[in-house]
Amino acid sequence: MATTILSAGITIEGELTSDDDIEIAGTVRGKISCKDAITIASGAVVEAELTASKVALAGAVTGNVVAEDRVDIQVGGRLIGDVRAARLTIADGASFKGNVDMDV
């Protein structure tokens, strides 16, 4: 289905809810809920709580992340917040500060 795209230069303040994928290259402050994947591009600034099936981040995120499936912190990605997910990868070169809960 259609992907929601927030390009660079755009700022959303508030709550964002989607049934489909979300790609963020801009700025979001608030809360993001997505039934599918959230992709946060390099250069993006997200200060929000994230809830999704999958989260892939290469930008800066401040806030807790809850993913049903997986969280991938890619090269250049920066996450400050707690992660709760079944699977987690942190790439070499990514930065992360927070707790991890993998339902062990």
Binding site: T3, I12, S18, A25, G26
Partner: protein, 186 residues
């Protein structure tokens, strides 16, 4: 700069600001304020003011539209709010309810139009609320005509009960119904 897309199935509760173009096919409860063009697709539902360079509307908007370049209301557009732009286009099938201003100087007095509207709306409300008192006088004559039958007055107070129901039907629903009929017909 690439376009920001709020897809169908996406709901934004809050403001969208910045540079670049925005296309909305989903739902936005809040302000959209961008430097680029704004396109509201047929499935879009926006509750809030929209401002941009060129605004193209094919969906529903409850809020003011302010385009620095142009505002185009195309088939399927349902707008409840004021429209301001140097250049305005209203296509066949577009529905508008609100003030329209198409001068370059329009942007200099948005506060004036906002100051006038609150006064206009309360004035309209009493006019619609006035009809309900009428049923009461109608009920009284039967009481006087048939004083022998006490049960009837008991029945008579019942009709006033439906009085509260005449609420003002939101204008959006009227437009929505018309749009639905058109879709079914077309």
């Amino acid at each position: 700069m690439s376009t920001t897309v709020i897809a169908a199935g996406t709901w934004v509760r809050g403001s969208i600001q910045g540079e670049g173009d925005v296309t909305v096919a989903g739902r936005v409860d809040g302000e959209i304020e961008v430097a680029g063009d704004v396109t509201l697709d047929g499935t879009a539902l926006v509750k809030g003011n929209v401002s941009g360079a060129r605004i193209v509307v094919r969906g529903a908007v409850a809020g003011d539209l302010s385009g620095t370049s142009a505002v185009l209301l195309e088939d399927g557009a349902r707008v409840v709010g004021d429209v301001r732009a140097p250049s305005l286009g209203v296509g066949d099938g577009a529905l508008v309810r609100g003030r329209i201003e198409t001068s370059d100087a329009a942007g200099s007095r948005p506060s004036a139009s906002h100051a006038q509207r609150p006064a206009a709306r309360p004035a309209a409300a009493p006019a619609k609320a006035a009809p309900p008192p009428r049923p009461a006088p109608r009920v009284e004559p039967p009481k006087a005509a048939a004083p022998h039958a006490p049960p009837k007055p008991a029945a008579a107070p019942a009709p006033p009960a439906p009085k509260p129901p005449p609420p003002v039907v939101p204008a959006m629903k009227k437009g929505a119904k018309a749009a639905l009929k058109k879709r079914v017909a077309g």
